[in-house]
Amino acid sequence: MSPHTLTPARPGAAGAVAGPGRLARARRRTLALIAAAAVLLVLMTGVALSTGQVSIPLPDALGALFGSGPAGDVLVVREFRAPRVLSALVAGAGLAVAGSLLQRLLRNPLASPDVIGVTGGASFGAVLLLATGASQALTPLAALGGGLLAAALLGAFAWRSRMAVTRLVLVGLAVQAGLAAAVNLMIVRFPAELAGQALQWTTGSLYGRTWPELWGAGGAVAAVTAAVFLADRRVAVLDLGDDSAGGLGLDPHRTRLGLLLLAVVLASLAAALAGPVGFVALAVPHLVRLLAGPPTPATLALTALTGALLLTAADHLVLHVLPVHGLPVGAVTATLGAPWLLVLMIRQGRLPQRSSR
């Protein structure tokens, strides 16, 4: 076989491996960002664990988390503070990974769990539980169930159109609107006290998390996130469009359904822990893209860390820094994240453009 190219071959280019090119530079930058985000997350967790009515020095607080130090410190950190702080961490990571996956799957930069109805479903489940007067300890499970219900509705209505992207977004918006309307209806019909509780939940709050909830949800978030990492190759092939994916031996409809399910479970778990927290799932993937470029497994790790950091920091602000009490954490994630996102976009000069060919 004689080598034959359209353009004259570069001298000496045959088989040569590219030097330290764009890919390698981007990878190094992403790894540096991951390290920075991990350090910040540990610091933020430490600060959150050390702050409160009893102030504990940061190293002692981190030690107490693992059971070393004075019994009083261990009690305060492990029983009162850690469940809430770690719930924020897990929920933030789950939301960010879910948002990033949804935006790729739906080829829509505005996609987030709100768009496919998961948030509405989780609120619906939680508020319905409040309405029945069952134990509040069951709220996370109800939220998880509600989120999965929304996903089942989405799948049922979109499967007939072979999970086409535009159809998914439309069906998702309809599911979200319907479930949100049901939630509003229930809140309006509730007695004032219950309505207050319901409203509190539907705006997002990390109050009253327990270790069993945290272990359950945290383990599930970790497992699903691992599955998302393993699916990276399939997501990359799906990015090429349904025809190309089919030509490469991937069933785009089935694959998209499976991956959507992963995103839905992640977002439902996060909602179960933290309530329907807005903005994290929408904005963190964009922040990461602006900082570290197009999605790779490494940027997915950065996305998880950044989501965890944002929600932990926002909850810390709600609890200890802001003068207003009882502010929902979702309001703070938006206040905190929006300026950051805008600054990055302005510095970037323009929004990333998508081309169709």
């Binding site: 353009t7 469009g241 089919g246």
Partner: protein
């Protein structure tokens, strides 16, 4: 593979491989039937062009041949085996596709794009292998895109981008390559570049090529075998020199014309009659 002297398929073995065939093929979008009862055999080891007027079903036929569309009736076979009974990845190791409008992921580099062509050869947890890299290098070299490997695909010119996409299909390392209107949206220079590249892939790398083309002259010049579709049915099939007649072009395209030999290649050239 074990072969016995009295194997029942020895007669088949004598035939060239990579024969794609349609048997009574019906293809349908919803309740609109686009391809009706097509019987067709595409020669292995050749360049086939599928032509026909707009909406005759030529792109639909290609989608049916690569299993993007399940037949409403009939079957598509590859060397006698029903492609719908083959595992998807096994089929994707036999034939590659360049769709009409592939989606270029934002900011993906040429090399990253071409690497995705190895998907059907990889398993979930196996790392990138030397064979994978060799296939990618070969694909980049053959398409002349190795100098562009670190450039984002969405910043390339139309012609360069098309070559990057062909490189992806080449990295897939298949015997058959199917292309859906690979020259659309390109200027003449780049159209010819792409068609020359396809010819070279056939001639030097031994690929069987099936492509949907819009331009009859280009189809006649670059293809060994011509398939003419009309309204979802087969109007004619065979070598361009035998198939492309004035009568056929007038019947299928509603264009009165003369067929003259291409002064460069001697292949048939369609010259529409002047209006009187």
């Amino acid at each position: 593979m074990t072969t016995t002297t009295d194997a029942p398929d020895t007669s088949d073995a004598a035939l060239p491989a990579d024969r794609l065939a349609a048997h009574g093929l019906h293809l349908r979008y919803g309740d609109r039937t686009v391809v009706r009862g097509l019987d067709l055999e595409l020669p292995g080891g050749a360049v086939t062009a599928i032509v026909g007027p707009n909406a005759c079903g030529k792109s639909t036929l290609l989608r049916g041949l690569v299993r993007l569309l399940a037949p409403a009736a009939g079957a598509v076979t590859l060397d006698g085996a029903d492609i719908h009974r083959m595992p998807a990845r096994a089929l994707a190791r036999r034939m590659g596709l360049l769709p009409q409008q592939p989606v270029t992921p934002e900011a993906v580099t040429v090399e990253a794009l071409v690497r995705l062509g190895r998907y059907p050869h990889q398993r979930m947890l196996t790392p990138w292998s030397a064979a994978d890299q060799a296939a990618v290098e070969e694909a980049l070299r053959r398409t002349g895109t190795d100098a562009l490997r670190d450039r984002p695909v969405d910043q390339l010119s139309g012609g360069q981008r098309q070559r990057a996409w062909i490189a992806l299909a080449l990295a897939q390392d298949t015997d058959l390559l199917l292309l859906d209107e690979p020259t659309t949206f390109l200027d003449l220079r780049h159209q010819l570049d792409v068609l020359d590249l396809v010819t070279d892939l056939h001639r030097d790398a031994g690929r069987t090529v099936v492509m949907v083309l819009h331009d009859l002259g280009q189809a006649a010049r670059y293809a060994d075998h011509l398939v003419v579709l009309h309204d979802g049915e087969l109007a004619a099939a065979g070598p361009p020199g035998e198939v492309l007649t004035a009568e056929l072009v007038e019947r299928v395209f509603q264009v009165p014309c003369r067929i003259v030999p291409d002064p460069e290649t001697g292949t048939p050239l369609v010259v529409p009659l002047a209006r009187r």
